[in-house]
Amino acid sequence: MELEFFSAAFLSALFAIVLIDLVLAGDNALIIGLVARNLPKGQQRRVIFWGTFGAIAVRGAMAVLVVYILNVPGFMLAGGIALVWIARKLLTPDPDAAAQHAAQAPAVSFAAALRTIVVADAIMGVDNVLAIGGAASGSIVLIVLGLAISVPIIVWGSHLVITLVDRYPSVILLGGAVLAWTGYSMVVREPLLAPWFEGHAATRLVIAILVFSISLAPWYSARLSARMKPLVVLLPALLIWMLAVEVAASHWKLQVDYLLANESGEYLLEGLRWLGWLPLAAAFLWLRDQLAQRSRSARA
């Protein structure tokens, strides 16, 4: 699908891609520096040049692959779910993150250094490329633009990105929200689910809230008191319950709309839909309390 140049859809997708590039950019400069530090001086320059070139080539190849893979039925849904997890991981505070990187040991030869750099970029770039593929909605122009933006960030822009996100941490939250929004649009664009969504349009809203409640959980759970923390689990669980009942009803051809129900069994099913989750929630809260009490008594 090609979007019209400078239309609202095109500019929105471009903005989403720039934001995703900023928040999911990997620290390639650090990796290259770490890998090259133990090599002789003469080889260091070659490793930096070919490492950067290899990282860019891998990024380009992965972008092309993602465009084709997302056209395969089922992969759009899988990509959307992966983006929800990526958004959640992005927002989860990680004090030890700076100590973790893909290149743990310095390389001893040129080939080993190059291999480490390329593999590290492939690992770090998967989420970035997947998110760009989802935000571009299959537009090759946008994919190329996304690459054209991410490559200078890989090579020169690291300091600029760090300065920006250090001054405005809300960019990270906005990036998480945009990733969640992209994940939601990928899930509802899944060709395998399109006929089902046409018959069950209201489930789109349930999926949107489910996606946001899971991916933004680290953000809103940081604002909740200890008593309200179970909401982080209960809200997505309730939404999954609603979706599961809807899917089961359409699979077994059951009537779950109380306005259209005319048999006692259908009313019972409607009651199960709205109240059936309550015993499960109560059991979860009881189990949580028991575990908390047990850990408190073990500490005392």
Binding site: A8, A9, L11, S12, A13, F15, A16, V23, L24, A25, G26, D27, L30, I31, L90, L91, P93, D94, P95, A97, A98, Q100, H101, A102, M124, I153, S158, V161, I162, V165, D166, Y168, P169, S170, V171, I172, L173, L174, A177, V178, A180, W181, Y184, V188, A201, A202, T203, R204, L205, I207, A208, I209, F212, L216, P218, W219, A222
Partner: protein
């Protein structure tokens, strides 16, 4: 390792974010959910139902329907306007309530009319 993790403030963004920035992003998320509500509701249903829905549109279903298929830039703009509105209300509402509060009984004679 992500580039943003080189900044301790960015790595812990959920705690270090400014109130203004947080309000803006929260408003954008609300607009995104409202837009998905617009996508979820079939406008033909409202067309069939007739004018009574427009008259009793207390839930704002029609206004949400206007957000159907909104793009990210529109959502960001709407989020910005919503955040600005909430910020103005946060400042203006206490001032308005202060004016409405009755004067103390003892000071009632001193209130200039």
């Amino acid at each position: 390792m992500l580039l943003i993790h080189r900044s301790p403030r960015a790595a812990n963004a959920v705690r270090t974010v400014s109130p203004g920035g947080e309000l803006f992003v929260a408003s954008v998320v609300i607009c995104m959910i409202l837009a998905s509500f617009g996508d979820a509701v079939d406008p033909a249903l409202f067309g069939e139902a007739g004018l009574e829905f427009a008259l009793f549109d207390l839930g704002g279903e029609f206004s949400v329907l206007a957000m159907r298929h909104w793009h990210l830039l529109q959502l960001l703009l709407a989020g910005g306007i919503l955040a600005a509105g909430i910020a103005v209300l946060r400042v203006g509402a206490p001032a308005a309530f202060k004016i409405l509060r009755p004067a103390p009984r003892r000071a009632i004679d001193k209130v200039p009319i």
